[in-house]
Symmetry: C2
Amino acid sequence: MLDMRLKKLARQEVSCRDCALHRICLPAQLPASEVHILEHAVERNRVLAAGASLTHAGRRVQALYVLRNGSAKCSWISADGEESVRGFYLPGELIGLESLAERRHACDVLALEPTNYCRIPIARFEMLLDMLPGLRREVVRSLSLSLEASSRLVTRLVSTSARTRLAGFLLDLSRRLERRGLVSQEFELSMSRRDIARHLGLTVETVSRGLTAFKRAGWLLVRGRQIGIRDPGALSALSN
Amino acid sequence: MLDMRLKKLARQEVSCRDCALHRICLPAQLPASEVHILEHAVERNRVLAAGASLTHAGRRVQALYVLRNGSAKCSWISADGEESVRGFYLPGELIGLESLAERRHACDVLALEPTNYCRIPIARFEMLLDMLPGLRREVVRSLSLSLEASSRLVTRLVSTSARTRLAGFLLDLSRRLERRGLVSQEFELSMSRRDIARHLGLTVETVSRGLTAFKRAGWLLVRGRQIGIRDPGALSALSN
DNA sequence: CGGAAGATTGAAAATCATCAATACTCGTGG
DNA sequence: CCACGAGTATTGATGATTTTCAATCTTCCG
C-alpha cells in the first residue's frame, strides 16, 4: 500500500482520475473501464521548456498531446517568411486532432512557458479508437467542438474592426480559463503582443493601442501581460 | 430485372455507387459492405429551392446533409443583426458535423441555388457509427479535414490585405471545384458580392473593387458572377 | 417596361499599418 | 547591487488602405 503510494508520488500520477484536469480532459466523459485502459497508453510527466516545440509543421504525426499546465501557440510560417498564429492551446485541450487525416502536422506547436504535458502515441491511440466505443464518441465530440471553436474564431476574424477582434480574443481566453476553474477575470497573458497581433491579423501597435484604449475606458486593467477584466459586458457588446 | 431498373429510375438512384459524387462523398473510402448498409439510411433526391434553408441556428440537429448539386451558404446572424458568413458548401461536403457535439446547429445553412441533397437522420447515423469501423474512420477523417480547412480559412482571414483575402477565396473555390471534376478555371459564383464580403470581413465595395482590379491586371475575367481565372500564379503569389 | 436587387464607381472620412522614437522588463554579468 | 543590453511594449506622426456615403449602372424577373 505504502509502496504504491511512493511509486505514485515518484511518477507524480499513474491515473487520469488523479489529474487536476480530469473534468476537462479527454477522459472526462469516459466510462471508468475505458479510462483505465486509455491511461496505460498515456506517457505522463513530460516537460517542455519555454520556447521548445511539440510539433513541427510537415512532420509526421507521432502522437497526440495534452498540456497539463502552461500554454502553447500553434503557428505556421508561410512561404514569404511571415508567421501566422492559428491559435493558443490551454491545459486539457487535445493537440493534433486536425492532423489525423493528413498524418502530418499542419503547424508548429511551441510552448509559451515551462510546460508539462501528456503524450499518446498515435498508433496506440488509433488501436484504442477501434476498441473503445466511449473513446470514439469522445474523439468525435472533441473534433466537433474544435470545429465549432474554429468557426467562432472565423466569426471573430471576420469582424472588420480591430477593437472588436481584440475584445473577442480576450473574452474567449477568459471563458476558456473559467472552464478550467481558473480565475477568469484576472490572468496573465502567456503570449506576446506580437503573437496576439499575428493571431488577429493586426499589427503589434494596433493591439497595444487597443489595450490602452480598453484600459482608459475602464474596461480592463493592463500591466504588462497581467490582465484584469473589469467590464466584461462592455467588451462583450463590442465583440458581438 | 426490368422492374428493378424502373424502380431505380423512378427514385433516380438507390445506391451511393451510382451517384456522380461517389468519388468525393463520404462513402468514397468506405468498404463496399459498409456502403451497402449506409445507403439504406440515406434519404435521397430531396430538393431545396434557392433561398430555402436546410438548418436554423439553435435548432436541434435532426440529420446530416450532403448537397448533390447546387451550393449553400453557412451564416450566422449576431445579436446586433449583422450577418457573418462562415463559409460555403459545395456538393459532396458533409454538412452538420460541427454541430454533432452540441446537438444544435451552430448556423443557418441556406441554398444559394436550386439544390438536390441527401439526408441522413442523426439517430441512424450514430447507430451506424458504432457498427461500422470504416464509417468511423471516415467521419474522423472528414472532421479532421474540415478542421484543417477551417485553419486554412483562418490563415486567409488573418492576412491583413483585402486583395490577398479575395485572391485566396477565389483560389480555394477553384480548387474545390477542381476536386469535384468540374471546370476550375471558369465558373459562376453562386453567392452575391455581399456574401463574399461578409465571409471575408470586407465590404461589398471593397470586394467589387478588388475584382475589377484583378480584371484590369489581366488575372481574371469578370462578367457579373461569371469568373474566369486567367493567371492563377499571380493570384497565388498574392494569397501567400 | 418598370421596378427592385445587385454591382460598380467616385469622393470623403475613418481606421489601421508603417516608420520612428522612447520606455519598460528581465536576466546576465560586472 | 547596479548597469547593461536585448527583447518587448508603448506612443506619436504620417501615409496607405478600407469603410462609408452617395450616385449610377446593370441584371433579372414579373
